[in-house]
Amino acid sequence: MFTFNVEKTKETSAFTNDVLWDLLIVGGGPAGLNAGLYGKRKGLSVGIITEEIGGQLHNTSDVDNYLGFKKIEGKDLSNEFLYHINSLYVPIIKNVRVKSINYINPDFMINLSDGKTLKSKTVLMATGGSPRKLAIPGEKEYSNKGVSYCTTCDAPFFKDKHIIVAGGGNSAAEAVLDLVPWANRISVVHRSKWRADQIILDKFNNIENLEIHLNTQILEVLGNEQMTGVKVLDKITNEERIIHADGLFVEIGTIPNSYLVKDLVKTNEIGEIIVDDSQMTSLPGLFAAGDVTQQQDKQIIISAAEGAKAALAVTKYLNKYYKGE
């Protein structure tokens, strides 16, 4: 039987380009949506600009560590968030990309991929992260020819196939669970030890045809027209060998989507936006929350909480420090 993941909203209706917004939020994941909720409740004129509602919530099937939900699918949690903020009529402009953000003291101009320009007193970067790549030979060549970064999207193409999952954190462990209904053999390859929660790893006990290769580094993706396997280095024995497989799902964390503001604010050595206790960046009026910041634990509930903190801090900033109007 089919299911239906309706996430339609009355977006765009209130999105006019000729007003000066109090707060525009870039990103529609947990941080951005919660900031929308808190900002609206404080009476701000607030809007959300996002390519997709839910952000990285869609990259996992089950979420079982968000307080109040013992177990919920990522997409359902995303919909719960959306229904909540829709009840407050927070305008959302979807399916557009922000091309650039310019600071014209004291305001911000946001240029969108559909040609619009929006103006706001403050901006919240809640842009999250994109899948980190292995950066090894063959990875780009076999991208979408066996190499995938979205388990929920691409698992159906690997029915009864052998799949390698690269990574050792929670997202890699969850990917293994997501692939069980499809793959006939799963191999986890990770360069060090498990970092995933034990409660997820405990679920591996009943999986047949699961092989775990820890302390093993993937050196190269091999193939002809399609990927056929990977070359790996066993870091204990220092020996190289080939693991033949039909697919490689890369789940090794994210890189921060901070490129829009990299010339405006301070970032750390891996590009994460540095924020203070109130989520403000080095540029007054520009805030950041969630996985795009230097905050170390990339968790849904932490991102949502940071979104709330940011919206409250924006309110204080507008009352006390904003120099415009």
């Binding site: 239906f4 339609k8 390519e51 991208s143």
Partner: protein
């Protein structure tokens, strides 16, 4: 028979579709044998069309109604097109059932085809209208792909703005031979005029950059 859309979904979708402007028509092509999802797709279109009186649902048989199928370039089942209020085919086609996440590109297409402004900037609209070569866009999707509906909606909007452009969603699992032919092992995969490929959800600008180079 149990409905595909429960009451909550009907309410939610009905509320969204209350913003429709003009009337539209779905023309669905099914076949009697060898089509696992034809009946379910028919149910979906029937149930959706009952949620607002601006929608008309018509069912055709791929093998019997050959002339009609040819008119819309339909060779697969289930496959359907959405016609505007004049009954004109604007190049918007769905091959396979738009369930799962893909319900969102279906609902967008209904609203867009009904004449609600989809909010593109004038400059973008002008660029789309200048495309003067025949364009076919296939967007391969899976129903579990959250990034796919955006790619489908953008392609469909291009088709609605320019009669040289045709856009079709292809549900990869329903048509494995087509997926194999186009070497689809990741979605969304966008194939333009059979040879240009874009991977991942693309904003309208990326589509335009490719179309302008054809």
């Amino acid at each position: 028979m149990e409905k595909l859309l429960n009451q909550e979904l009907q309410n939610q979708i009905g509320e969204f579709l209350s913003h429709m402007d003009k009337a539209i028509t779905f023309v669905l092509f099914t076949k009697e044998t060898g089509c696992e999802t034809c009946q379910t797709t028919k149910m979906l279109l029937e149930e959706i069309s009952l949620l607002n009186d601006k929608m008309t649902f018509v069912e055709k048989d791929l093998n019997r109604d050959k002339e009609e199928a040819k008119k819309y370039g339909i060779t697969l089942a289930p496959s359907f097109v959405i016609l505007d209020n004049q009954g004109v085919y604007q190049g918007v086609k769905f091959n396979g059932i738009p369930a799962g996440h893909e319900i969102n590109s279906f609902l967008s297409a209904i609203i867009d085809m009904s004449g609600v402004d989809f909010g593109f900037d004038k400059e973008v609209v002008e660029r789309v209208k200048k495309i003067d070569k025949p364009v076919n866009i296939k967007v391969f999707v899976t129903l579990s792909c959250p990034h796919c509906p955006g790619a489908v909606s953008n392609a469909h909007r291009l088709a609605m703005l320019n009669s040289n452009i045709e856009s079709e969603m292809v549900e990869a699992q329903t048509f494995p031979e087509l997926s194999k032919k186009y070497k689809v092992s990741g979605v969304p995969k966008i194939v333009i005029n059979e040879k240009h490929e874009l991977l991942g959800n693309q904003p309208i600008e990326e589509y335009l950059n490719t179309l302008e180079r054809l």
